[in-house]
Amino acid sequence: MTQDAHRHDHHGPVQLKDGVVPYLMRWITTTNHKDLGTLYLLFSVFMFMVGGLMSLVIRAELWGPGLQYVNPEFFNQMTTLHALVMIFGGVMPAFVGLANWMVPMMIGCSDLALPRVNNWGFWILPFAFTLLLSTLFLPGGGPAGGWTMYPPLVLQTGNAFPFLIFAVHLMGISSITGAINVAVTILNMRAPGMTLLKMPLFAWTWLVTAYLLIATMPVLAGAVTMLLTDKYFGTRFFSAAGGGDPVLFQHVFWFFGHPEVYILILPAFGVVSTILPTFARKPLFGYDSMVYAVASIAFLSFIVWAHHMFTVGMPLAGELFFMFATMLIAVPTGVKVFNWVATLWRGSLTFETPMLFALAFVFLFTIGGFSGLMLAIAPADFQYHDTYFVVAHFHYVLVPGAVFAIIAAVYYWIPKWTGVRYNETLGQLHFWLSAVFINLTFFPQHFAGLAGMQRRVPDYAIAFTDFNVWSSVGAFGFFVAQFLMLYNFARCVWFRQGRPRVPARVWEGAHGLEWTVPSPPPYHTFEIPPRVPETEVTATHDDVDPLTHVKQHA
């Protein structure tokens, strides 16, 4: 047994030159957290592109009033699948991938706690999304009821319906197994000396995220199971005639759905809290309060769900409660924003690509947060609800929020993973194009929404034309700009011959265990847990001379 287990130590992982089949089998059967992290990230890039293409169909159709390219049914399928693909196929797997790569290297352990389960969690995803996307080729097409899957509308879905439900079940299993794995790793596998309050914030945010996932994905599974039985087995959960209520589904869905949006953003907070100190060359301000803030956000996220349902006709007391609770979330989130700014304050800032994305995150996520707070004001939400104002809100928190954080993280860690630098000039260009286009895409949507354009429509009144033209131009620009990044990363991963290797500590301001192992790290790291030196973790930075870098270049 043991002998088997350690076989790979002797001669690294199987390479392509060892044969195609063994190479494929390596990826299919791997239990290595770095392999699985890579798989997760590649999968997520693929899904981002698929979801991005779908958003381009949406934006192309919305380029002008009237129907030009697709019929309304297909448009709705695009909206629905765009959201499901981006959220469950893009952002979540990307963060799980980052956790796979970085959590063990940050807390000093050899792998995730349950490596085989880890493999299962990943390999469910390609199957689940094949099921989901195959519905586009079924007669009747894919699901078109919105990613929120409200009955009774979603029950009108044709052939695609069972695949939609089972795909959600599979994604649920994947997320739950992944989350259990990360949580157990963080709770049980920290190296000696790595106490909870010394962990990097990325690990902290992931621990909390894992709890959110474990608590809410089963609820989503329950909700869609009720849809399934309502459609095929005669139950009446969501039909008034039988004593149920369509709105019941919305409660169950959003009990999952609201924590879900924090699942999408908490790891992003962790990434930003890691990157800002590095490039400010100054420790994170208010570490403890950052941890408490994350925990409070997670707690509050369970008692605000009905802010998505202010218009369903809840009793007044419910509306008031959910309004107040939702507004409260701004407090811990504000604490985080303030701490980030305080981290920058009087630091010594440089603006490499990861830093640029992280700064844009702070700026643009906060704008998204502000519009969120506006939505929380129930009487005003009656006007905002189901308009493009909401679409603008959540894309601000999701794209320049979650997606920018993912991009920042990959720029930040890819030299560590591959041992070579990305091209900084291209990176900067990619940043500026992305930043400009993303605002061009989503800022006008605020105005379209306020002026009265409702969501989920393939066509609109003439008055909204200008906003939509800008938005579409921005969307195409943004999408195209992403190829700069993909090329840049591909260079690091596949075409790195003959380029200078980076040192273990890639960024001179970076701290943490991951920077103590070589770049690229060996296939297995920290098989024997390291002893955690005090300074590495609390990162008071006494060991860094901020001028080293300058001197070297001088």
């Binding site: 129907l67 009774p152 400010a280 007044l316 920058l344 800032l349 005003a380 009265g452």
Partner: protein, 409 residues
């Protein structure tokens, strides 16, 4: 100290840019903002909206001011030696409490408005609104008047995929209906909102009312319109393929005009109350979306059918094509191919090509997802069926209004 001065200059500069953008956003006449509306409540809602907006702008100016100042002044070339501080319980407490206080200050008026909005008591007129895929049904509960309201035929033609019609040439594209909801000004009107198939949402921005129409339940909401005018809205909850094509038009008129309209409606007439009528003069001023060209009263989908005599095949086909494309085509498509499996093709259908009785009955009663169309006139139904029976290469004879009338009995 020098630094501080520079810092404040930056903060002010960025602040100015932001407030500039914000001002532009708030007061640009080109409808970049939420409408102020024409009710007490809508003005209050607008005020809440602007309050929270300005609070966010103010906080943004401060936070981003500090951030960009730091980006500028603490970049390495200007500030090579970073400070080391990384903790202060005092500031953490301060910046927890200040936002909290701001939020409390905002929550109080918001709660007040909300409480008012939810109080539908003492209404003077009740209208029951039922959402269908994809039209609205209005029922003046105590008046015995009720009718359907669907997308106006002009918009409907233009919005078909590759229709070849420029939407810009259609007045009030997607925001006009065949039968408007006529309401009196100055009265507290209660809406009883429900749906027949899936969830819809009834939204008229100028009245600041939006609520979901949930099948099997009734939600209440109310309004008191202050000024006569045309107020346009849309269905705001995804309700299937034509969710974007079920607009709402409220026509608010003086109570006496309303009474006349109602009386006429009871006898089956559609009294035009739009532009040109007593209330019409004020209409354009209050119309938010369309600084429209000529508003003219909209005829019903087809010519109102008081023709007792048989119609010729040509007449039936012509009117039928219109009815079909407006109503049936939503599901069965202009091509008659439907959208299988949900919406069956009519081309080659046994029912369409079979005995007329079954065809008529099917259309009057509906089946499963197909709604009943008994509210249409005999002539409209006869025309639509005739069209179905003779279009797309069919040759199954014509249907006369009399046959429909007979089937109704």
């Amino acid at each position: 100290m020098v630094k501080w001065k520079q810092g404040s200059r930056w903060v002010c500069g960025i602040g100015l840019i932001f407030s500039g953008a914000a001002l532009g956003a708030a007061y640009d006449p080109g409808h970049w903002n939420m409408p102020v509306g024409v009710t007490d409540i809508s003005r209050e809602v607008f005020a809440r909206h602007m309050l929270i907006f300005w609070v966010c702008v103010a906080i943004g100016v401060v936070v981003f001011g500090f951030m960009f100042y730091s980006v500028f002044a603490h970049r390495r070339s200007r500030h090579p030696r970073p400070a080391h501080f990384h903790e202060s319980t005092t500031v953490e407490i301060i910046w927890t409490i200040i936002p909290f206080v701001i939020l409390v200050i905002m929550a109080i008026p918001a709660a007040g408005t909300l409480i008012k909005m939810e109080d539908a008591r003492n209404s003077e007129l009740s209208v029951k609104i039922t959402g269908y895929q994809w039209k609205w049904h209005y029922d003046y509960v105590d008046q015995g008047v009720n009718f359907f309201s669907t997308l106006h035929a002009d918009s409907n033609r233009a919005r078909q995929l590759n229709s070849g019609i420029d939407p810009r040439s259609v007045p009030n594209y997607l925001l006009e209906v065949d039968h408007r909801l006529v309401l009196p000004v100055g009265k507290k009107i209660r809406f009883l909102l429900t749906a027949n198939d899936v969830i819809h949402a009834w939204w008229v921005p100028d009245l600041a009312v939006k609520k979901d129409a949930v099948p099997g339940f009734i939600n209440e909401l109310w309004t008191r319109i202050e000024r006569p005018g045309l107020y346009r809205g849309v269905c705001a909850e995804l309700c299937g393929r034509d969710h974007g094509f079920m607009p709402i038009v409220v026509e608010a008129v003086e109570p006496d005009v309303f009474e006349k309209w109602l009386a006429a409606k009871k006898t089956g007439q559609d009294l035009p109350v739009g532009r040109g009528s007593a209330a019409g003069t004020q209409v354009a001023a209050a119309d938010p979306v369309s600084a429209a060209p000529k508003e003219k009263p909209v005829p019903s989908v087809a010519v109102p059918a008081v023709k007792p005599a048989d119609l010729s095949k040509d007449e039936l086909m012509k009117q039928g094509e219109n009815v079909y494309n407006t109503l049936c085509g939503a599901c069965h498509q202009a091509t008659g191919q439907g959208l299988p499996p949900t919406f069956p093709a009519l081309v080659g259908s046994k029912i369409v090509n079979g005995p007329a009785e079954a065809h008529i009955r099917h259309t009057l009663k509906g089946k499963n997802l197909m709604p009943p169309f008994a509210h249409l006139s005999d002539a409209d139904i006869a025309a639509a069926l005739t069209y179905e029976r003779n279009a797309w290469g069919h040759d199954a004879g014509i249907v006369q209004p009399a046959a429909v009338a007979a089937a109704r009995k």
